[in-house]
């Protein structure tokens, strides 16, 4: 219905891209392919190089080595204004001396489009983000969420080949953040735009991404769909960064058809597993895939700490394998008090052996 705002989705490819600032290696040999129309998140702790990667795609940073392709064209040495890429900034970066409408119209005016075209396109874009009729206001009269919408309209109106997001929601409160990320995802899917989204918030990454690229110390730690990364993390860093995690010692008895038979405490389980040699392994056990019972079979332990969170309760249980964090969404028989002797049952879908390293 918004015919004026369409996209020209393009593939983005990074080939062995590195960036050094003096002696510091910010980005180390990153290769990445982003399919047209998909939303890929670069996820990692602050200082891991994810924003630098994004800025190299935008052309706001030069690459020290490696090549960047947009729509199969080598743009490594093109300036930002020749790349057909727009960016959403953490600070929104709305021009304070221009009205909301003029902010959205800015890029079109730079391209010297006719006044009628500019007016129609900018108004359509504002309507698309739910800001119709607000064009005459100055940006600083808007709330944070509204400013981010205007910034989104300003980016979309250019019909970029790629839309870049640099932690766009980190200045918003939790509720608004959740709503905005849903809206961004809906718009991105509806318009079919290729998007690269940088965040340090794993929940945000899981919620909106087609694929997540986990970055650690300038390198790609793992790439996969949100579900893959959550259920089958390739290493301890990814397992720890995405979701809550217990790391417990276990024994791998045998590999059968891509599944591992393991012994975890007194319990025997058959779980999905990477190919590993039999012997001692570290397994990831997700807190929500552990049952707490006050009696019966399973790993014995004592509740040390309880946090009641309404829809769930968090327990820390001391066991012979070490402390185990459990998130109980069922709470049959109410919340157990600290000091209670309990038995733990691990559910096979939440247990995953980690490659040693």
């Amino acid at each position: 219905m918004m015919a004026a705002v369409t996209s020209q989705a393009a593939r983005v490819t990074l080939e062995h891209v590195s960036k050094r600032f003096g002696k510091t290696v910010a980005v180390d040999d990153v290769s990445l392919q982003i399919e047209p129309g998909s939303l890929v998140t670069l996820l990692g702790p602050s200082g891991c190089g994810k924003t630098t990667i994004l800025r190299m795609v935008a052309g706001l940073e030069t690459t020290t080595s490696g090549r960047v392709f947009i729509a199969d064209a080598d743009v490594t040495h093109l300036p930002p204004n020749a790349r057909d890429v727009t960016m959403m900034f953490q600070s929104y970066a709305l021009f304070p001396h221009l009205s909301v409408f003029e902010n959205v119209a800015y890029g079109l005016r730079v391209l010297r489009r006719s006044e009628a075209d500019v007016r129609k396109a900018a108004e359509d874009a504002l309507a698309l983000v739910g800001m119709a009729g607000m064009g005459e206001r100055p940006p600083n009269a808007l709330s944070g969420g509204q400013q981010q919408r205007v910034a989104l309209a300003r980016s979309l109106v250019m019909q970029p080949k790629v839309l870049l997001f640099d932690e766009p929601l980190s200045n918003l409160d939790a509720k608004l953040r959740k709503r905005m990320r849903e809206e961004i995802r809906l718009l991105q899917q509806r318009l079919g735009i290729t998007a690269i989204y940088v965040t340090h918030d794993q929940a945000e990454a899981l919620a909106i991404s087609d694929r997540i690229v986990v970055i650690d110390k300038g390198r790609i730690s793992q790439t996969g769909s949100p579900d893959e990364l959550y259920r089958r993390p390739g290493n301890r860093f990814v397992a720890e960064f995405i979701g809550e995690a217990n790391f417990l010692p276990a024994r791998l008895d045998a590999m059968v058809n891509g599944h591992a038979r393991i012994t975890l405490g007194p319990q025997r389980l058959e779980v999905i597993s990477p190919a590993l040699q039999p012997g001692p392994v570290t397994v990831l056990a997700r807190p929500e895939a552990i049952r707490v019972r006050s009696q019966g079979e399973g790993l014995a332990g004592t509740i040390q700490k309880v946090s009641y969170l309404g829809s769930s309760a968090d327990y820390t249980v001391e066991t012979e394998l070490g402390p185990v964090l459990i998130t109980d969404y069922e709470m049959h028989g109410g919340v157990l008090p600290a000091g209670t002797a309990v038995r733990l049952e691990f559910l096979s879908h939440g247990v995953y052996p980690l490659p040693s390293a």
Binding site: A58, G59, L60, P79, P80, N81, R83, V85, T86, M87, F89, Q90, S91, A93, L94, F95, P96, H97, Y106, G107, V110, L111, P138, N140, A151, R154, M158, L164
Partner: protein
């Protein structure tokens, strides 16, 4: 409070006496009212006043441009020698004007750099003497502008020049105006550096005032000073008017340093 009143009295007294001195026959001896000095000023002093205003008017925008560009480089770019550039640009503030004046004579007294006695050497000395004003107000204004604004503009297809014209300059307009007016004012009132650089053809008001005072023609000197004070006051008032208007138009970041 007492301090404040004392301060005001001294400041006002200065201006009152300067104005008064221009309207009496011989200051302190014959206090009869006269317009003699102003008539003489109109006859003999207009050339130097015109020269002063023209040279200050030429050098003020150049000072502002050089100063703001230097500020932009210092604030926005990391390059070797950046600290040194900022330091040396401030140096012309620290060096006594007479030293600069003599230095200019020595440096530009031989071909191909034979500038002594001309207008160019005055303009150049004004620019370098006043550049720190432009740099300081530029740095203060630019430091308050989020770098993301320029990056947003560039990703919206604007070139560097367009970004400068449509985003940066409008946002630091107050700083530009204040740099313009202050360098104009400082050029008109400059004496220490230019006292060695003026010539018969390119004579400046301040030098004329100095000469008249040396010859004991205090009436003429003070009437000349009064004219300069009025011009300067008008210039400063104009600046506050322009900057004030900017500020009132709605929360622009990066106000000028006054």
């Amino acid at each position: 409070m007492t301090f404040c009143i004392t301060w005001c009295v001294f400041t006002l007294a200065l201006y009152v006496f300067v104005v008064y001195g221009g309207f009496v026959e011989i200051w302190g001896i014959n206090n009869a009212f006269t317009l003699r000095h102003y008539r003489q000023l109109l006859r003999d002093g207009m050339d130097a006043l015109n020269t002063t205003l023209i040279l200050a008017g030429v050098s003020a925008p150049l000072t502002a441009v050089v100063g703001i560009l230097t500020a932009y480089l210092v604030v926005r770019h990391r390059f070797p020698g950046r600290g040194a550039l900022e330091f040396t640009s401030m140096l012309s503030f620290a060096v006594p004007g007479t030293v600069i004046g003599i230095g200019y004579i020595l440096a530009f007294n031989e071909p191909p750099l034979l500038l002594t006695g001309g207008a160019a050497i005055l303009v150049i000395s004004f620019i370098f003497r006043n550049m720190p004003v432009g740099i300081r107000s530029g740095i203060a204004a630019l430091a308050q502008i989020d770098k993301a604004l320029e990056e947003a503009s560039v990703t919206l297809r604007a070139s560097f020049a367009v970004t400068l014209r449509r985003i940066v300059l409008p946002l630091i307009k107050p700083a530009i105006i204040s740099a313009l007016v202050f360098s104009f004012v400082r050029s008109v009132t400059a004496i220490s550096a230019v006292v060695f650089l003026v010539s018969a053809k390119w004579q400046l008001s301040t030098k004329v005032i100095l000469d008249q005072a040396e010859n004991g023609r205090y009436g003429l000197a003070t009437s000349y000073s009064t004219v300069l004070i009025v011009i300067m006051a008008a210039a400063v008032a104009l600046m506050y008017l322009l900057v004030g208007k900017q500020g009132a138009r709605g929360g622009i970041q990066g106000g000028g340093t006054a």
